[in-house]
Structures are given as C-alpha cells and as structure tokens.
C-alpha cells in the first residue's frame, strides 16, 4: 500500500535495505537523480517492476517534486 514519507523516513528505510526508484523519463533521470536510485519510468512500472525490484524489500518511489 503506498504511503507518503518524509526525508528522514527515506534515510531510515534506505539504511534498512529499501530500494529507491525514480519514475521520471530517461532524460530527467540521466540529468540528475538521488544517489543509488534505480530507474523505472512510470510507463514501464507494470511491465518491468518484477524484473528490476526485489519483492522482499521495501520500495521508495519518487518523482520530480520530492525536495
């Protein structure tokens, strides 16, 4: 179930092994992304999430307005 979290929670989850995913298109990801973030454009989430992500670990998804 999706849940909105703040930056402190992002750090805490990453420290405990969560996966960080940026869902913006390729140009935006290539320009800039959070350290260690995986790239999974929104339009490909349904098709590629199973291959890219480990279902046993939590997933943090972000897009542009995540400052």
């Amino acid at each position: 179930m999706p849940k909105r979290i703040d930056r402190d929670e992002v750090h805490r989850l990453l420290d405990s092994g969560a996966q960080l995913v940026e869902v913006l298109p390729s140009p935006e990801y290539e320009e800039e992304h959070l350290p260690g973030a995986l790239h999974l454009p929104l339009r490909h989430v349904d098709g590629r999430a199973r291959d890219l992500l480990d279902p046993s670990r939590k997933v943090i998804v972000y897009c542009w307005d995540s400052s």
Partner: protein
C-alpha cells in the same frame, strides 16, 4: 530533488539554488522583539533574517526595511509573512533571471515541505552565473 544533498547524473555540475544559498543566514522566532533580533542579525554581518518555527519551517522574512521598524515590535508583526520561496533544485541561471527581473536582493530556498535550506543572495547568484 535532494534537499541540497548530493545527487548523481550529468547535470550535477551545474549549480542549483541550494548550492549557492547561504546556509548560515540568521533565523528568528515569531515572539522575539525586533530590536534584539536586529542587533543580533547586524552584529553577524547580515541585513536580513528568516523567521522559522521549531521545525525550521519558514514563516516570514525580514529584510533591511522590516528590520528598521519599531524595535519594540514582535517579529510576527514586523515580518513580511509568506514570502515567495524557491526549491533547492532550481538552476542558478533561472534564479539570476528571476531575481534581476523582480529586483530581489535575496530569496529563501526551502524544501517542498517548507523547511529552510538557506537564503539566496542576488550578489552570489550573479557572480556564480558569471563564472559559468
């Protein structure tokens, strides 16, 4: 995007608002007296202060004109409430154009949840842009 923290990618070499914003800008609280704040701010070499709450969420701004009001006033009455804020990821080029066009000497940079990152000074933005 990263609230002023490091990022990866091809664009990371171009400075953003958070890179240039002064993080040491003096802050003040709503219930402080203007005269005390003004003395403290100017003693630190500043002519502006950002008003924040306990979580460093921005509430207002005092520039030189506000600092020169009645020293007995509370900050909450003297401040410019709800100033325009800018996100940390805005490019310095965009900030330079905006600040020059609108004749702004400084603007606060905040995260999307309103927490203060720093105060961006026009002089810093213009000089940094000239270096690019």
């Amino acid at each position: 995007m990263a609230a002023g923290l490091p990022t990866e990618g091809t664009n990371t070499q171009h400075p953003r608002a958070a890179d240039v914003a002064r993080k040491d800008v003096p802050t003040s609280g709503l219930k402080e007296r203007l005269g005390e704040v003004r003395d403290r701010v100017r003693a630190a070499g500043w002519d502006s202060t950002v008003v924040v709450n306990e979580e460093r969420v921005l509430l207002g701004l005092l520039r030189a004109a506000e600092l020169d009001k009645d020293p007995a006033q509370l900050i909450e009455h003297a401040m410019r409430p709800g100033p325009s804020t800018f996100r940390p990821f805005v490019s310095i080029d965009d900030m330079a154009h905006f600040m020059v066009e609108h004749q702004l000497e400084n603007v606060p940079v905040t995260t999307s949840d309103g927490r203060l990152v720093g105060l961006l000074l026009k002089q810093d933005v213009v000089s940094r842009t000239a270096e690019e």
